[in-house]
């Protein structure tokens, strides 16, 4: 059930290119104009505009009641978002770095994620939890994780991971309009920050008008016949780069961007694997008991007979180290992705 295949550059009728950050903010602003019940709270989201520019400019338009700085009390303010959502508002609450989830996980998973089910559907929790993920800038083990698997594993949250400005905007519209809790994980390296240069991929044309991208539809960012690469977030771009490198050698890789982990688009993965027979999963989360295992398991459940080889690249079950050579070693690089595709192709 992938969306119609398309080059990112053909996806829209506009030439206006935005960074991922601008695209996210545009969707938030649009929804806030439409619906008074939407508000944004977090640390440093007002004057500062979000440490990773998730709210740049919003304070000016919407004022401090709707773009609200809050104490460094993640349990209190994320839990308050749950309470406000249960009262029918549509809060967006920012956890500055996903790495801080541990101080507030109870509100996130025991209240936000479960209250719909535990109330037999009599309450909804229409909130968005935005959070910055990812490494590559040497911020060490408490500020560089993605934790994709940790959130995707626990039921009751939809989990969104955009990789381009176009996707970021459409997924943000969908997230805010969704009646369920959505964890919206944006990769710092993709935001287009002045002080943390992005690769060129995430900056894309973005339509001015609002549009939604449905959850559960992976996007085939590159079509190919030889090897299936399933990935998300930053590594979509690394995988695309690796695939380009391999073109000259006549290796034709397909790159699937999951876009949402919950719901997960198994069908698109299986279709691709049935075609290529070879599966590489690339992930910036810890390897074991996470995303890579799940994708491989779904392929094995659904297309075992078509599968001739599987491989994965992820953080090799170590905390993220600080020093550049160490972090580069554990965070799957373009070269390692290319090498893995090559090996699968042999």
């Amino acid at each position: 059930m992938a969306t119609e295949s398309r080059d990112v550059t053909q996806a829209t009728e506009t030439d206006r290119e935005l960074t991922m950050s601008r695209a996210m903010v545009e969707a938030i602003a649009w929804e806030m104009r439409e619906n008074d019940e939407v508000f944004y709270m977090g640390e440093d989201v007002a004057e500062y505009g979000g440490i990773f520019s998730s709210t740049t400019g919003l304070l000016d338009e919407f004022g401090p009641d709707r773009i609200m700085d809050v104490p460094i009390s993640e349990t209190a303010f994320l839990g308050a978002a749950v309470g406000a959502a249960q009262a029918g508002m549509r809060p967006i609450a920012e956890l500055m770095f996903v790495d801080f989830f541990g101080v507030a996980m109870d509100q996130i998973y025991n209240n936000m994620a479960k209250n719909t089910y535990m109330s037999g559907g009599s309450f909804s929790v229409p909130m968005v939890l935005t959070t910055a993920v990812g490494g590559t800038y040497n911020d060490a083990g408490q500020h560089s994780q993605t934790l994709y698997g940790t959130f995707a594993h626990l039921p009751g949250m939809k989990v969104v991971v955009p990789s381009t400005a176009y996707d970021a905007k459409g997924l943000m519209h969908s997230a805010i309009r969704d009646d369920d809790p959505v964890v919206y994980m944006f990769h710092k390296r993709l935001m287009g920050l002045g002080w943390m240069p992005s690769p060129s991929g995430p900056k894309t044309p973005v339509p001015e008008e609002d549009y939604t991208i449905p959850f559960g539809e992976a996007d085939i960012k590159r079509h190919g016949n030889d090897v299936t690469v399933v990935t998300l977030g930053l590594h979509v771009h690394r995988a695309l780069d690796a695939a380009s490198q391999l073109e000259d050698d006549g290796i034709d890789a397909e790159v699937i961007d999951l876009r949402t982990l919950v719901p997960l688009d198994t069908e698109t993965i299986l279709d691709s694997v049935r075609k290529t027979g070879k599966l590489l999963v690339v992930d910036e989360d810890y390897q074991s008991f996470g995303v890579t295992g799940e994708i491989i398991a779904r392929a094995a459940e659904g297309a075992l007979d078509d599968l001739s080889e599987v491989k994965r690249l992820a953080i090799p079950d170590v905390p993220i180290p600080y020093a550049r050579p160490l972090e580069n070693e554990v965070n799957p690089s373009t070269d390692k992705i290319a090498a893995a595709i090559r090996e699968l192709h042999e």
Binding site: P71, A76, G79, G120, P263
Partner: protein, 354 residues
């Protein structure tokens, strides 16, 4: 000043709660005697009863409207009753029935009634932040709704409680935190785990008033709660209110209380708020006959609710897959490993020795 009608209402809610739990206790023990098996009988799982806490629920909630929010902890029945949660549906929930508040998914620690804005959590102090959020919503919407978070004395050492006090205080939110101090957190006496003697002292570390009141005097609870809630409703911010209550029973059903001095148990069971409130009623000229009538009406309502609940159908196993999301994904997240019904109870099989 409390009116005689308010006294009647409180009395009715308190006797309803007391009798309700006496009846639940009986039902809970069905299938659990002579050998206690927590997973047997019509009400399995943990059951936390609140005998000795009643005037706290009644004295606070009498000041609340349906649009005011209440969050309750693991010991919620007396509060739910006072807040006006649908008694039949609540009972059906506790019996795990399809027509229960949560369609049998929540059980007694997870009572949710959107009609009166009531919710529970079984995690210590974790109702505080959502109550703050409800108050935040009221303030943003410029209504005069308020929110009340109930918690136990053991919960005043939990991070989420403190964070909520500060957030409520710095944003001047219409919320009241009500500590039900029954001197115990399961087997742990307060002095062993809490540095202050009165939980209301926690307010001193914040810019928020703290007040403590004795549950024996339901009218005193009424008055203190009235002040706190009026303060919140008038836009003057949060209050930390503590009610000294009594745990007349074990922490949960099945708790033999070997850790608890006999004198403490008997102290908790002495003449309590319900009897004293009956006296207050009499002092206000209400006849014994009418008091009896209130009590009988309450008992009837409880018996009816329980009888009704027991007749309700159990949920179908297939319902387990529903309600994870309000807006379920078009495509199933997982093939579920298995999704056929045909379930067999393994609890029975595991309990080979029972």
């Amino acid at each position: 000043m409390v009116s005689v009608n308010e006294l009647r209402t409180m009395y009715e809610q308190m006797v309803t709660a007391r009798y309700y739990e006496e009846r639940l206790q009986e039902e809970y023990l069905v299938g659990k005697q002579p050998a206690f098996d927590i997973s047997a009988g019509p009400i399995p799982g943990e059951l936390h009863l609140a005998a000795g806490h009643e005037s706290s629920g009644a004295g606070v909630c009498i000041h609340l409207r349906d649009d005011d929010t209440v969050t309750a902890p693991h010991r919620p029945h007396h509060i739910a009753i006072a807040k006006g949660v649908d008694l039949k549906k609540m009972t059906a929930e506790i019996f795990g029935r399809k027509t229960g508040l949560s369609k049998g998914k929540g059980g007694h620690m997870h009572l949710f009634d959107p009609d009166v804005n009531f919710a529970c959590s079984g995690i210590i102090a974790q109702g505080c932040p959502p109550a703050v959020g409800a108050a935040m919503a009221a303030k943003k919407r410029h209504t005069d709704s308020v929110a009340v978070a109930f918690l136990g004395d053991g919960a005043i050492n939990q991070g989420g409680f403190f964070e909520s006090l500060n957030l409520a205080s710095v944003q001047n939110l219409p919320v009241v935190f009500v500590i039900e101090d029954n001197d115990w957190a399961i087997s742990m006496p307060k002095h062993r785990v809490t540095d202050v003697t009165d939980g209301s002292q926690r307010a001193d570390g914040f810019t928020m008033p703290g007040e403590r009141v004795d549950s024996d005097d339901a009218v005193a609870v009424y008055e203190a709660a009235g002040r706190a809630i009026a303060r919140a409703r008038d836009g003057n911010g949060p209050t930390l209110l503590e009610v000294q209550v009594h745990r007349r029973m074990g922490h949960f059903m099945g708790d033999a209380e070997a850790y608890r001095p006999e004198s403490d148990i008997s102290h908790s069971k002495r003449r309590d708020s319900i009897e004293r409130l009956a006296e207050d009623l009499r002092a206000h000229g209400v006849e014994d006959d009418e008091i009896d009538e209130i009590r009988e009406r309450a008992h009837e309502r409880v018996d009816e609710a329980i009888a009704w609940a027991k007749e309700q159908p159990e949920p179908d196993p297939s319902e387990a897959y529903e309600d994870v999301f309000t807006n379920p994904p078009a495509q199933a997240t997982t093939d579920g490993g298995y999704s056929d019904s045909g379930s067999t109870s393994d609890a029975a099989a595991d309990g080979g020795e029972q």
